[in-house]
């Protein structure tokens, strides 16, 4: 075999004084980074196999393991850094595109961290969430121009709305890209908390129909698992036009992940690759989208809001205005830092724009056109905590989509190897030996904790601003100030600089 120039990324340090050779690590590592040496009667490790998912470290009963970035270093070079060189070795060896998982991890500015929140002092009392109710309930869907009332009664019912107890939903993750237990965790949490999860383009597994009230069913370019029962099973339908992690790129679920359950749920043959084309083959312009929107509304008798999800790209504002006028009830914008089960590294790291700017631009544009109330805006693409959510709402979002945060709560350690299907945490895998590691009851408990913690924090922040209902923050950019931002960024965000 020709020379192999790949170097281990991590090194596994096993404290021999602590290791009791119980083999828990060996049993748990799906990459065989640890194994038992029968002859020596000890457990040994192979650095080159380690992906730093930390499963072994977490389960090691004596905490004998440490995973570190590998000591081996290339000659320091600001331009030709280690990553650059290693990527070339990899491609020189394989001739293939580089693949990766989860969101863009490059060092681009994170605008959330350059935005500060306001709080009441003297002239306006802050509100104590422990004493006064603070409301997070949010309605997603097109709102009428005006409410018509006849002799005290609502004359016309509202267009279909999603009623959320907290303006946070779980973004699209398909059964196939994630395990059924991960899907169950999302579904169970959504229904327990009173929000929505999203099937992604994975169809709806039979076990999940019972969570329909809290399900957004997605229709994407591959149309996998789409049928009338499916469309009517959820609370809303989402047309996926794009994804922040890979704008302009389709999806590809390798055949080995298409087991019996996935194949029957997606309605594709066992073991065949599931390829979602880059474009919808029936959508080549905005009016085509309009047709699909109304086709879906017809199919569900106008009883379900239709959402359109797109990746944040350069002329996002104009596109969203078009989508709003095409009849979408909800527009979901996915920023370039959004996660993925698998994407070409170059695409993930170089295409799209930050969600913060995209959101601000879209909200302003829709207001300028006086059609902001016609659609709800949902933004996603690396919402990391409750402050990000509050800032997003103040910039104009009706609700946010989270995925990575949810997976982390379930146990994801961000090793970014989702595409290998060997997720040691039972999340991004279809291997029954790994899937069973994610107990949906535990996952749901942790995910509910996370959302409850976030809503406590959001209420604290709202109360501090003297606001006791989230809608009074929505688009209320006066509550935001920028720090360390340039004028054009402030202008796009529509906020003043701190101190102004």
């Amino acid at each position: 075999m020709a020379i192999d120039m790949t170097f281990p990324e991590f090194q596994i340090e096993r404290d021999r004084d602590k290791c009791i050779d119980c083999q828990v690590c060996a049993r748990q590592c799906s990459n065989q980074a640890h194994f038992y040496d029968e002859e020596e009667g000890i457990v040994v490790s192979d650095d080159s196999k380690c992906v730093n998912c930390l499963r072994c470290v977490t389960l090691c009963p004596t905490k004998a393991l440490t995973i570190k970035k590998h000591d081996m270093e290339f000659k320091l070079n600001a331009n030709w850094n280690e990553t650059a060189i290693k990527e070339i070795y990899k491609q020189a060896a394989t001739g293939g595109m580089l693949l990766t998982g989860m969101g863009n991890d490059r060092n681009y500015p994170i605008f959330w961290d350059h935005i500060l929140l306001n709080a009441s002092q003297v002239t306006n009392p802050s509100i104590d969430p422990l004493r006064e109710p603070i409301e997070l309930k949010t309605f997603l869907g097109s709102k009428p121009e005006r409410v018509l009332i006849e002799n005290g009664r609502l004359a016309e019912p509202l267009p279909p709305q999603l009623e959320l107890e907290i303006p946070v939903m779980f973004s699209a993750m398909s059964f196939g890209s994630i395990s059924l237990n991960a899907c169950k965790t999302l579904a169970m949490t959504a229904s327990a908390i009173g929000t929505m999860y999203n099937t992604g383009e994975g169809g709806l597994h039979k076990d999940l129909y019972k969570y329909g009230k809290n399900t957004i069913v997605q229709v994407a370019s591959g149309r996998f698992g789409v049928h009338p029962e499916y469309l009517n099973a959820g609370a809303a339908i989402e047309i996926k036009m794009g994804q922040g992690a890979k704008p302009g790129i389709g999806g590809h679920l390798p055949g080995e992940k298409v087991g019996a359950e996935v194949s029957s749920t997606r309605m594709i043959p066992l073991g065949t690759d599931a390829i979602s084309p880059a474009p919808h083959h029936d959508i080549y312009s905005i009016e085509d989208l309009k047709q699909l929107i109304y086709a879906l509304k017809e199919a569900t008798e106008y009883r379900k809001p239709v959402s359109v999800k797109i990746a944040a790209v350069h002329n996002i504002a104009a596109i969203c205005s078009g989508i709003a006028r095409a009849g979408a009830d909800i527009i979901a914008i996915d920023g370039y830092r959004g996660g993925t089960g698998s994407a070409p590294t170059r695409i993930r790291d170089n295409v799209g724009i930050p969600i913060e700017l995209a959101l601000a631009a879209v909200d302003s544009r829709l207001r300028e056109e006086g059609i902001r109330n016609r659609v709800s805006l949902v933004c996603g693409g690396s919402i990391r905590n409750s402050a990000d959510i509050i800032k997003a709402v103040a910039l104009g979002a009706d609700a946010v989509y989270v995925a990575s945060a949810a997976l982390i709560a379930m146990g994801c350690h961000m090793c970014q190897k989702c595409y290998t299907g060997k997720c040691n945490w039972g999340i991004a895998t279809q291997d029954p030996n790994l899937v069973k590691r994610l107990n949906p009851e535990i996952g749901t408990r942790r995910l509910k904790n996370l959302l409850n913690a976030w809503s406590h924090e959001m209420k604290e922040m709202l109360g501090g601003m003297g606001i006791n209902a989230i809608e009074s923050l929505r688009g209320n950019r006066l509550m935001l100030r920028g720090i360390g931002l340039m004028d054009n960024e402030l202008r796009v965000l529509g906020i003043k600089a701190a101190g102004e």
Binding site: T123, P133, R367, G466, I467, S472, G475
Partner: protein
């Protein structure tokens, strides 16, 4: 620097301080005193009582703004829109009168009579016009008269430098200035007017000298609002209103509140009760306990007009041609008291301000959060009926 809408420079020039610190250039939180007296039978009475009432709360103001709204003061011109306009110079007046001439038939125009008062300085030119939209202009605008007038007012206030329309309703007017309210009353000779509804405002802005246009009541068409508080939902409210042609040039809560009611009541034809259920909406917990029909209605209101929920502390007195409404924010973060004597209704930030003009007032009560006090004047028609 980013601002909402266009800035209005009148006040800056008058008060002679850097424009960055005047209304229209930034949000100005303010504490205040408010008061109102109305005769439910519609019998006009002199402004003396309201002057004394608001004067009683002098320490709630700081001399940086005071004003009065009076309804029923121009019976002889009740068919015409009465514009009270501040001019910061002849140029402004010429531009404005030229604009008015293009769009209105001006019945009468002239200075508003004032008397010299020590506490009042830097007075602009204060003119009053009784006018009606020109039939041809109205026709080509395809708007109703109120809408037409409103847009003209917006136009003047936002685009004619140095001109500010302080009042634009019928058979009513707003008299305001920089100073303590009682001085403002004497300056405008409030005691010489007879109205069946009086509202008054004494201002305590927390960071600028204030200016004439920025003093309260704030008015649009027949609407006037006096308000005490600072609404934390301002940004949300305003960005919503702006979608419907309102230009919140002053960036004051009062202005926004006025537009909210104009939008809900005059434009969308909602009743005051429904409007209140929108701006001071019940909590979801309470909504869940309502009867299905009502629950659906309130849900629809909160969902549709979510951005018009007024959050944060406020006590307002909203007045219009045939009535007035006192309202507190839904968790009652500001004081507001009402009382009655005969056909007179009294409302004020403090009970003392009522007692001082009507010691024998009865059923004095503090308004509950989000529970409006609605008063309609008999035999007069206007919004909401």
């Amino acid at each position: 620097m980013f601002t909402f809408g266009e800035s209005n420079r009148v006040g800056a020039h008058i008060s002679g301080i850097s424009e960055n610190f005047s209304e229209g250039n930034m949000r100005i939180p303010a504490g205040c005193a408010i008061s109102a007296i109305a005769n439910v039978k519609g019998i006009p009475f002199s402004g003396k009582a309201i002057r004394d009432s608001i004067a009683n709360m002098r320490e709630r103001s700081n001399g940086l703004g005071g004003g009065f709204a009076a309804y029923g003061i121009y019976p002889e011109y009740k068919g015409f829109y009465a514009f009270h306009i501040f001019y910061e110079g002849c140029a402004a007046q010429e531009n404005t009168e030229c604009f008015l001439g293009e769009n209105f038939d001006i019945e009468v125009g002239g200075k508003i009579p004032t008397r010299k008062v020590v506490g009042i300085t830097d007075a602009p030119l204060i003119w009053r016009y009784f006018l009606a939209p020109r039939v041809d202009k109205l026709a080509e605008s395809e708007l109703n008269a109120d809408e037409f007038v409103m847009r003209c007012v917006m136009r003047v206030n936002s685009s004619i430098d140095g001109a500010y329309i302080a009042s634009s309703g019928k058979n009513m007017g707003v008299f305001k200035a920089v100073g303590y309210p009682e001085d403002v009353a004497d300056f405008y000779m409030i005691d010489t007017y007879k109205a069946y509804i009086w509202t008054a405002h004494g201002r305590f802005p927390t960071n600028t000298p204030g200016w004439w246009g920025g003093a309260h009541p704030f008015a649009l068409l027949d609407w006037t609002v006096v308000h005490n508080g600072e609404i934390s939902s301002y940004g949300a409210n305003v960005r919503f209103l702006e979608m419907f042609g309102y230009k919140c040039t002053l960036q004051t809560d009062t202005e926004a509140i006025t537009y909210i009611f104009d939008h809900l009541v005059r434009r969308h034809g909602l009743s005051f009760e429904v409007a209140v259920a929108t701006v001071a909406a019940p909590f979801w917990d309470d909504i869940e306990r309502m009867l299905p029909e009502k629950r659906e209605l309130i849900k629809a209101l909160r969902a549709t007009y979510a951005s018009l929920l007024i959050n944060g502390p406020f006590s307002i007195i909203l007045a219009w041609g045939n009535g007035l409404m006192a309202l507190n924010d839904r968790i009652k973060l500001r004081s507001l008291v009402s009382a009655q004597h005969g056909d007179n209704i009294y409302i004020a930030s403090e009970e003392a301000a009522i007692r001082t003009v009507c010691p024998e007032a009865t059923n004095v009560r503090s308004l509950g959060g989000g529970e409006p006090l609605l008063v309609f004047i008999e035999g007069i028609d206007g919004y909401g009926n």
